[in-house]
């Protein structure tokens, strides 16, 4: 490698195989990777790309039944050959790891200070007061300046604070290499930006090597010097983050970049990548992206394409990259200056009206005021966004609307029916209400009965609108077609479907009773980036074809920009700002909205 800095970690030909019951399953195929001293390297990939397991293979923390072959040199030790005792000596002291979920990585029975003190290097004869001072210094390094925080238990801290404590503990032995596995994905937008900034600044100040794992290209660009793009277990592209952002040299990286919707403008059509991520096994001996690639040629599936150096540090595993480079650049440029589509102001009749809604959860120790005196309306064929961070009460509103939660105060009127209390409605009214409003949940993995076939799931819903059994089969097919799934899917069970496909089924099930309002509770946040855009595009299409009204609940401003006509910004149970999407996102008035938007802009300015 051309850079003068010494190599810290060198991974060659890493191969990871899961030995399930029966046939071995490839997870990562021939991965080469290197990290230099003081450098941040990003591993970017969607679920199933093998990014997390690659990182775990490096410090030998693979789950049972998963094994790695190849070479992982740290200095001159091959970690894969090293004994458990040797690796144990390296962990923490030389290579350390920060995990995604700060809610489970800290021992709940230990105070935050203890997590750090126990990790400090043992030095003989140092008085405990000095150790305490050192511990506080470490906490200050991660931005926790008040010493009282050291005495708190993890559950008394916010997610961001916990992640800081976890970070301080991982750094306590001053490792040369830090592996950060999605360290900010479980956090809220504003906290996420702070934590990422912190990790980046500590890495720079310490001159430490870092492997940063993420599914989000934007954060990777903000944090990393170099980026490795992984797809279905194979490395498809690597290069310095700046030039990769400017000109991706693999169709997958380009697609990933384009399908991340912009927050500053609304696109007339969302760019999508067709299909879904294959299993690493299915694409072992070909270009893994070929089945979804628009430039696919026969030679792409003839064998696994090698990683080819194009210029400087740019490597791509696309064999046609030289031919299609100009076209890819044109597409990228076109997407950047894609025209805004102007949201149409909707002046329709009101179909859903909420006035002074409030909801309090009575916990053992205290009351949580989830929703405080909130009023809003949704018109026919209007799409309304509800934006807020976790705990803001946005989901509670959605659940009150469909009767999964009982509001304490206020009224809900849906299509002329008083839906404030579902229990008080007559059976017939309740039935009518359920045919007016439906909900799509966040997690497509648990929102379908795992034992029921898709067809039976849909016809069960169809039976509710008194459809005779003879017509149901045909109607199931047309529902599947409507959400973009082939009719054969009626015989499958959810287990055989990908996340995006399951979400489509969940949408079809909601549509079966022909509702006029759809509550979408974070419907794409559990999906891969390349699939998100597909599902959003489906929502738009249904909006246009069926004239559905949406309440789009999300934490993602880019999603709101693409999906909603009007938006309500929610903070701690209250609406702090509302108005047409363009007005609110372009000229935020409330400090909280300003902070939300600023935290997104920030990435670009690092």
């Amino acid at each position: 490698m051309t850079d003068g800095r010494a190599t810290l970690l060198d991974v060659e030909n890493l191969h990871i195989v899961a030995q399930g019951n029966g046939t071995p399953r490839t997870i990562v195929n021939r991965l080469d990777l290197c990290v230099r001293r003081g450098e941040t390297v990003g591993i970017v990939g969607e679920s199933g790309s093998g990014k997390s397991l690659s990182a775990r293979a490096i410090i030998k923390l693979l789950p049972p039944g998963v094994s790695a072959t190849g070479k992982v040199y740290f200095g001159d030790i091959d970690l894969l050959q090293a004994t458990e005792r040797q690796v144990q000596g390296l962990r923490g002291r030389h290579i350390s790891m920060v995990f995604q979920d700060p809610f489970t990585t800290l021992n709940p029975l230990k105070r935050c200070g203890e997590h750090i003190t126990e990790m400090l290097l043992p030095v003989n004869g140092v008085p405990s007061s000095a150790r305490r001072a050192e511990m506080l210094r470490r906490l200050a390094e991660v931005g926790i300046s008040e010493p009282e925080a050291a005495e708190r238990y993890p559950f008394q801290l916010s997610g961001g604070m916990r992640q800081r404590v976890a970070l301080a503990a991982s750094l306590a032995k001053d490792p040369e290499l830090l592996i950060a596995d999605e360290p900010s994905s479980a956090l809220d937008v504003t906290t996420e930006a702070e934590v990422l900034k912190l990790i980046r600044s500590i890495q720079k100040a310490r001159g430490m090597g870092m492997i940063f794992i993420t599914h989000n290209l934007t954060t990777a660009f903000a944090v990393c010097d170099r980026i490795y793009v992984l797809y279905a277990g194979s490395l498809v592209e690597t290069g310095p983050s700046k030039s990769l952002l400017e000109e991706p040299l693999h169709p997958y990286s380009l697609g990933l970049l384009l399908s991340d919707p912009p927050v500053d403008r609304r696109l007339a059509k969302l760019p999508t990548i067709e299909g879904s991520v294959p299993r690493a096994d299915q694409v072992r001996d070909q270009c893994p992206f070929a089945p979804r690639c628009r430039w696919r040629a026969p030679e792409c599936v003839a064998g696994a394409p090698p990683l080819v150096n194009l210029e400087g540090e740019r490597w791509s595993a696309c064999i046609r990259v030289r031919e299609i480079r100009a076209e890819m650049a044109r597409l990228a440029a076109q997407a950047r200056r894609d025209e805004k589509s102007i949201e149409q102001p909707v002046n329709s009749q009101c179909i859903l009206e909420v006035t002074h809604l409030s909801k309090t959860f009575h916990l053992r120790s205290h009351d949580v005021h989830a929703v405080k005196d909130v009023s809003f309306q949704i018109g026919e064929n209007e799409s309304v966004g509800l934006v807020g961070e976790s705990g803001s009460g946005k989901t509670t509103i959605g659940r009150c609307l469909v009767g999964l939660e009982q509001a304490d105060g206020g009224t809900i009127r849906i299509s002329g029916i008083d839906a404030s209390d579902y229990n008080r409605l007559s059976t017939e009214e309740r039935q009518r209400l359920r045919r007016t409003i439906q909900i799509v949940f966040q997690d497509p993995y648990s929102s379908l009965d795992p034992w029921q076939t898709i067809g039976s799931c849909l016809s069960e819903a169809l039976a509710l609108v008194d459809m005779p059994p003879s017509e149901r089969k045909q109607q199931v097919e047309s529902l599947l077609k409507r959400v973009g799934l082939p009719p054969e899917y009626a015989n499958r069970r959810p287990l055989a479907l990908s996340g995006g496909e399951r979400q489509r089924v969940a949408i079809a099930r909601a549509l079966a009773v022909r509702p006029r309002v759809l509550v979408c509770d974070e419907p794409v946040s559990a999906l891969d980036v390349s699939v998100q855009a597909q599902v959003l595009e489906l929502f738009r299409q249904l909006h246009a074809e069926l004239g559905l009204s949406y309440l789009f609940i999300t934490h993602d401003l880019a999603v709101v920009r693409q999906m909603a006509d009007r938006v309500y910004v929610m903070y701690k149970g209250e609406f702090v700002e509302q108005g047409p999407v363009a007005a609110v996102l372009d000229h935020p008035q409330h400090p909280y909205t300003q902070r939300l938007i600023a935290s997104l802009e920030e990435y670009r300015n690092w």
């Binding site: 679920s47 199933g48 030998k60 923390l61 789950p63 049972p64 039944g65 458990e84 144990q88 962990r91 923490g92 350390s96 790891m97 990585t105 800290l106 021992n107 997590h115 126990e118 990790m119 976890a166 503990a169 991982s170 469909v402 009767g403 999964l404 309740r430 039935q431 359920r434 045919r435 439906q438 909900i439 949940f441 966040q442 997690d443 993995y445 648990s446 929102s447 379908l448 009965d449 795992p450 034992w451 029921q452 069960e460 819903a461 509710l464 287990l495 990908s498 996340g499 969940a506 099930r509 909601a510 079966a512 009773v513």
Partner: protein, 290 residues
Amino acid sequence: MSVQPLTLRQNFVAVTQLRRRLPFLIWIALAVIFFVLLAVLFAEQLAPLSPNTQDLILRAKPPSAEHLLGTDQLGRDILSRLIFGARAAVIGPLLVAVGGFTIGIILGLSAGYLGGNTDSLIMRWVDLMYSLPGLLVTLVIVGIVGGGYPLAVLLLIIYFSPADTRIVRAEALKQRVLPYVEALRTLGIPRRQIIFRHLIVNVMPIIVSYIFLDFAFALVTLSALAYLGVGVPPGVPDWGRMLFENQTLIFANPWAAITPGIAIVVTAASMNLIGNWLFEVFAHRTEVRM
């Protein structure tokens, strides 16, 4: 922090080793159950002699060519009695396990899904049952009333059902808050249909594995009752009763007392192994997302 992964890792190693060994043990367990079932179905054909033929000349004799496991005090063939004893060893425990769970499913699903007063009522009954020494009560009632084997099985069903109710309820509580149940509720699917078409299927894997575990426990319990002289009437071949009747022959023909004991332990252990293994298999199937 990074200390935790080390111990975790050691755990992983232990679990991996166990998993690798498990399938082999499962094969053995399945083979044992297969032979027991053979004995249940084809006892007449398999047993060399009738279990009740007495040969008063050949009393309490050690194994010979004629009697492979020797004879008991009344000169009955031990091997034949063992083979015929499989019936009592399978039918009773099976009824107890399935019966207990039938009650458990109805009460547990109602308690778990409906909640509120129904839940309180059912769970207080469960608490009450837990506070009774069930085995002792069975012993006393069967001893006084003299209902024999059927009554013992019936009482054991009632004795087992509170624990089964708890298991099903816990599982129903877990399922109830999942989005798929909420989606069914929002669609307006009737409660009965949600419980008996969706919940029941999703709690079934847990129940099936527990039925095996319950079977093993019921077998041991029934054998203990038989050993104490409650349950099967005298004369009917039963492993627990054989253990009791033949313990005095421990020097004359040790096989007469040891083999029924082995049969009980091996059958119960096999059912336990299969139950635990199913539990693991099902637990993993639901964890795997794609």
